[in-house]
Structures are given as C-alpha cells and as structure tokens.
C-alpha cells in the first residue's frame, strides 16, 4: 500500500524542501518548536506506541546479540565437540554445562542459537540492502524519468517497469529459490537470491510515490521557477518519496530472515549442515522431532520472534509516517 506523503514545510515556491532537505531545517527555525517535521513527528508517535517499543526492543536485542555473540556464547559454534554424547535415540537436554542442551550434531544449543542470530542479521540486512539499492535505483530511474515526463522519460519508465513486471510475475520465494538453485550453496548465493527477489517491490513502491509526488504543487512551483529537472527529481521529489520505501525495507527484513531459513530448509543454504543457522538447525532437528521437539522449537521460535520484532516496528513506522494518522 502506498502512502501519500505531504511536504513538511508550508510548501511555498521558494521552500519546497521536505524533511530530507537540510535547507528546510535551516530556513525554518520554528519547526523545532511546533514539531512539524515529518520524521520528528514520526519519532514522537513511535515513542507513544507500545507495539513500536516492543518491536524496537526485540530488534535491538537481536542486533546486540548478533554483534556480541562471541562474548555471550559459552562455547565455540558448530564444533560438534560433544558428538559422542548424541545417540540415535537421544540428544542430551539441558544440564549445568549446557543450559539449553546440545543440538543433534553435538554442539551447544545456546551457542548455536546466538551465532545463528549473527547469520540471520548478516543475511537479512545485506540481502535487504541489495534489494533496496537495486530496486530503489530502478524505481528512481523509472519514477524520475516518469515524473519528468516527455516521450523519452515515458519510454524509460515503461521499459524499467516491464522488467519489474516480469520479475513480479514470479512469486518472490520462487524467484529466490530459482536464483539460489543456480548460484550454488554459499553465502553469496543466498544474499543475492533473497536480495534480487525483493527488487521489484522496492522499484514499484519508489516509482509509485515519486510519480505521486511529481504531481504535487511544489514540483510545479519548482519547475515554474526554472529549476533544472534533475535537481527537482533528486532534491525535491526523491526525499519526499522515500518514506514508504524505508518502511517496506523494515518489513522486508522480517521476510528476508524467514526466507533465509526457508532456503536453508529447502537445502539451498550453507553447505555445512552443522553451521549455526536457524533454518539449518530446523532441518537438522526434523528427523528427531517427534522424540526431541526442543531441537526444532528453539530455532523456530527464534526466527518467529525476530520476524515479529521487525514486523511490529515496521508497521508502527508506517503508521507514524502516515500523515492521515496524525492527531
């Protein structure tokens, strides 16, 4: 769903800048007093929203755990050090040495989970960044030329959007699966696969909001003043169109983390089965699931909670940035 965004300033001819425009803040010292800046208002609304706070806390906890995993983890990941204690019928459960017990390869469960957060964060963030950069560039190309208009602009817009339509004709998980299947079992393959699968969403979203912004009065005013088209697009239309794209990126982080696990589950993730990755841990646990559900429940819940955090925060951000929700 695209969200129409209003320019934050009064929108006079000489002051078309939005929240991303540094000139706005300089020209409008009163903005601080009234809290009229879209982003500042959004932060205030976020702080009043309990769902946003819970989401932000989960995300924060996840990021911190991922970064300091080596400090928190009691052992080294993926060593299979205690493989001798694992028998076909039983994986040792919680004990004094292993708070959450062992995994089916004989590594410490807690360590695996903590390092798994690291994998998820890296894969999730990098792949979403890939999708965002490529998708937003395509969207900028289409939306920028589309907003400027003219025969050439229209042609560029159409060409880019046809490509995006083709990508959209394949569901994103399937797109990711097919890319990963070709690229092979390694970290780059996963990141590229999940990143590329997100490209069409970002491209469409940014183009849509740029075209909507292109019809605003401040764009008309700017072009009436004789400001060059490129400048209008880059410093007026683009900053005002970024909101929905940023919201989508937050929400996509949740999807990306789930998709990384899904690719692992389909056997397309890291080659090494003992690696500390939540999706892998789920697959490995599956054979013993009926006997020892703990093995699957930990990583499964970890994925779900992380995805929940990003979703809560992303949706709260969407609401906070939506001018219609301002009261």
């Amino acid at each position: 769903m695209s969200i129409p965004m209003m320019p934050a300033g009064p929108g006079g001819p000489g002051d078309p800048g939005g929240p991303g425009d540094p000139a706005t803040t300089m020209l409008e010292p009163t903005a601080t007093e009234h809290g009229t800046s879209l982003w500042r208002g959004a932060v205030q609304r976020l702080r009043r929203n309990p769902a946003a706070i819970i989401g932000a806390l989960i995300v924060l906890a996840f990021v911190v755990v991922a970064i300091i995993a080596p400090l928190l983890a009691p052992y080294q990941p993926g060593t299979g050090e205690w493989a001798g204690q694992v028998t076909p019928g039983k994986v040792p459960g919680p004990s004094d040495e292993h708070v959450l017990g062992l995994d089916s390869f004989g590594s410490d469960m807690l360590t695996q989970l903590l390092y798994g957060a690291r994998q998820s964060l890296v894969y999730g963030v990098v792949s979403t960044a890939v999708g965002l950069v490529v998708g937003a560039s395509l969207g900028l190309l289409a939306g920028g030329f589309g907003a400027v208009g003219g025969r050439f602009g229209k042609a560029v817009d159409t060409l880019v959007m046809r490509l995006v339509d083709i990508m959209l004709s394949v569901p994103s998980l399937l797109l990711a699966v097919s890319i990963a299947a070709v690229l092979g079992k390694n970290a780059y393959a996963i990141i590229i696969a999940i990143g590329v699968a997100q490209v069409p969403i970002f491209a469409r979203l940014l183009r849509g909001s740029m075209l909507a912004q292109g019809r605003s009065d401040y764009v008309l005013a700017a072009s009436a003043l004789g400001i060059r088209k490129r400048r209008i697009v880059m410093s007026h239309v683009l900053p005002n169109s970024l909101g929905p794209t940023i919201v989508q990126a937050t929400l996509n982080l949740a999807t990306a983390i789930i998709e990384v696990a899904a690719l692992s589950y389909l056997g397309l993730g890291e080659g090494n089965p003992a690696v500390a990755e939540w999706g892998r841990m789920l697959v490995a646990a599956q054979d013993r699931f009926a006997v020892d559900p703990r093995l699957a429940i930990y990583p499964g819940v970890a994925i779900a909670i992380t995805a929940l955090g990003f979703t809560l925060f992303g949706e709260a951000l969407r609401e906070a940035l939506d001018p219609r929700s301002r009261r």
């Binding site: 046809r162 490509l163 339509d165 083709i166 004709s169 394949v170 569901p171 998980l173 399937l174 699966v177 097919s178 299947a181 070709v182 949740a254 789930i258 696990a261 899904a262 589950y265 389909l266 056997g267 397309l268 789920l282 599956q286 699931f289 009926a290 559900p293 699957a296 429940i297 499964g300 994925i303 779900a304 995805a307 929940l308 979703t311 809560l312």
Partner: protein, 334 residues
C-alpha cells in the same frame, strides 16, 4: 468485458516472452559448459554429450533461442534431465494434488479470515480485536515450514488425529479418475477414500493457509473499519435500517474490493508456498516435484515450473480483475 479480457490476455504474451528470455539467458549465464553445469561435477562424458545434443548447446545462441521458443510455443516444456520425461507431463500429473491443497488452504483462510476481520473491525479496540490482531501478526511472522512441523508434531505424532504424510492412506484402494483425490472418492462413491483424502488435507491446508488467513484478516479489518465511517453508512443508520442489513448490504459489499484483490494475490502465492508445505507433509504435488528438482539440479523442471506458475499467477490476477465487475458495478461502467 470481453475486450478487456482479450487485452489482458494479449498483455500476457510479452510478459511470458520476456520471462522465457530471462530464463534462457539465466541457464546460459552459468559459468563453464552449460551441460556440465546442469549435470554437476560427477557427470560422465556420455551424459554430457546427451544433454548437449538434447538441448542444442553446441549450436549458435540465436538458433538455440529459436528452437527453445519454438518448443515453448508448441507447449513443449523440454524434458527433465533426470528421468527424461516431458516436464509438462510431470506437472499435469501432480497439479491436481496442489490445486486440492491450495483450495483447502484458501477455504481455511477465507472462511475464517473474512468473519474474523469483520468482527475485529466491528469491535475495534476491544479484546476480540486485540486477540485477532495479535493472532494475525503471529500468523505472518511464523515461518510456514516451522508451523507445518509443529502441526504435524502435535496433531499427527502426539494426538494422532490426522495422518502425518501423503495424500491417501496406502491401504485404501482408491480409483483414480480425475487426479483430485477427494473428488474421485465422491465420484466413485468410495466415501472412505474421500474422507481419508480430506483428513490428509487438513494439516497441510492449515499450514499453507495461515499466512493468507492473517493477511485476509488484516485487510478485511482495515477495509471494514474504513467503510464503516463512510457517509452512506451513516445515512443507512439514520434511515433506521437493521444492523444486519447495513453490514451485509452496505459495509461488507463495499469493503470486499481490496479483500478480493488480496485473496487473488494470495492464491497465486499459494502455489509457491506449496513448495515448503508439500515438502514437510510428503504431499506429492508440484511443490515437492520442484523440491526434488532443486536438489537434483534439474533446471528444465525448474524453468518449466517458473513459467507455469507465472501463467497461473497472471490468470488468477485477471480473474480477480474480472471479479471486480461482479462485486462493484462502478468498475463495470469504466
């Protein structure tokens, strides 16, 4: 209406042409000898020669593309590298199973989703709303395969209410007529087989239907909440119409438009989500066919699958757009 349909069908042509071109380039973009890339490192020279021959990898690229497009246009989706069977045949054989599963999932999502979304909007801010909203949030964030594993553990392994894997109990001797297990059971009056097939659909259907359910709930809730504040609803209220008439005739009908779009989009997605669900439940549909193709690097199957899904996806979206006219007369005029 007819012109619109034909135009939309015509628009699918460049889309599919573009997609097949991308797929063509994609397999050729593999590093090294394409035949070796397809068959993997341990391939024998013999099998490489066979694949090179079969796919014309030794011919000029343009000619390869011509041959490839020609065969696609004839409806010939190449053959599986592994068993040499035509890809299309493999699909059509398994497709009924996936349709059945998708229908089960859709039924679960729609029948539960629309009323829940409606009730949540009606009692906005009350406990029912909070429960529905949090539940739908959970539904989107729980990974499908994890949910599938959990359902299987609790309801199949522990409680033993539902079967763990497959489409039919192998002990039941069912007659195959259409490929749809439930329908076959009803047609041949083998009601035990039909019942067994339904029982086999419950858990996979719930697992696959949970994400669409959550999304349908949220869209219905948002849409109903918006419509409820429309002027015409207030007018209807001030006219003294009964609450049930207002909700049926004025609120629900107007709120259904975005819901219909969502259902259409989600139906398309079900066919790709089926990969995970079918794998967990050993359900022999196109999803598990794709899964085995991935693990065996059977690219023709993967390619065919993508084109197949893209066609279905586009057709479903077209159907949704046509459905608009039925739901909303205003669309018909324009």
């Amino acid at each position: 209406m007819l012109r619109f349909t034909l135009r939309r069908l015509a628009l699918m042509v460049p889309l599919l042409a573009g997609l097949s071109l991308l797929l063509f380039v994609w397999v050729r973009a593999l590093p090294g000898d394409p035949a070796r890339a397809l068959l993997g490192q341990r391939a024998t020279d013999e099998s490489i020669a066979r694949v090179t021959e079969a796919y014309g990898f030794d011919q000029p690229v343009l000619q390869q593309y011509g041959t490839y497009m020609g065969s696609l246009l004839r409806g010939d989706f190449l053959s599986s590298i592994r068993d040499g069977r035509p890809v299309l045949e493999g699909f059509l054989e398994r497709f009924p199973a996936t349709i059945e599963l998708a229908l089960a999932a859709l039924l679960f999502a729609v029948v539960l989703g629309i009323p829940l979304g409606y009730l949540a909007a009606r009692y906005q801010g009350r406990w029912l709303d909070s429960v529905v909203v949090s539940g739908s949030l959970l539904g989107v964030t729980i990974p499908v395969f994890f949910l599938a594993i959990l359902l299987k553990l609790v309801f199949a392994n522990w409680l033993g209410i539902f079967p763990t894997v497959g489409r039919l109990d192998p002990r039941i001797d069912a007659t195959d007529v259409t490929g749809f297990a439930v329908l076959d059971g009803l047609l041949t009056r083998e009601f035990d087989a039909a019942w067994d097939a339904i029982m086999h659909l419950v858990l996979p259907g719930i697992a696959l239907g949970t994400i669409p359910l959550a999304i349908i709930v949220r869209i219905t809730r948002a849409s109903v909440a918006e419509v409820m504040h429309e002027d015409y609803v207030r007018t209807a209220e001030s006219k003294g119409l009964a609450r049930s008439v207002i909700s049926r005739r004025h609120v629900l009908r107007n709120a259904m438009l975005p819901v219909a779009t969502t259902i259409g989009l989600q139906t398309g997605l079900l066919f790709s989500g089926a990969v995970l669900t079918e794998t967990v439940f050993g359900f022999n549909g196109i999803g598990s066919y794709l899964f085995s193709a991935i693990s065996q690097r059977d690219y023709p199957v993967l390619q065919g699958y993508i084109i197949f899904i893209a066609i279905i996806y586009s057709l479903i979206n077209l159907a949704v757009d046509l459905l608009y006219g039925v739901i909303d007369p205003r669309v018909r005029v324009s």
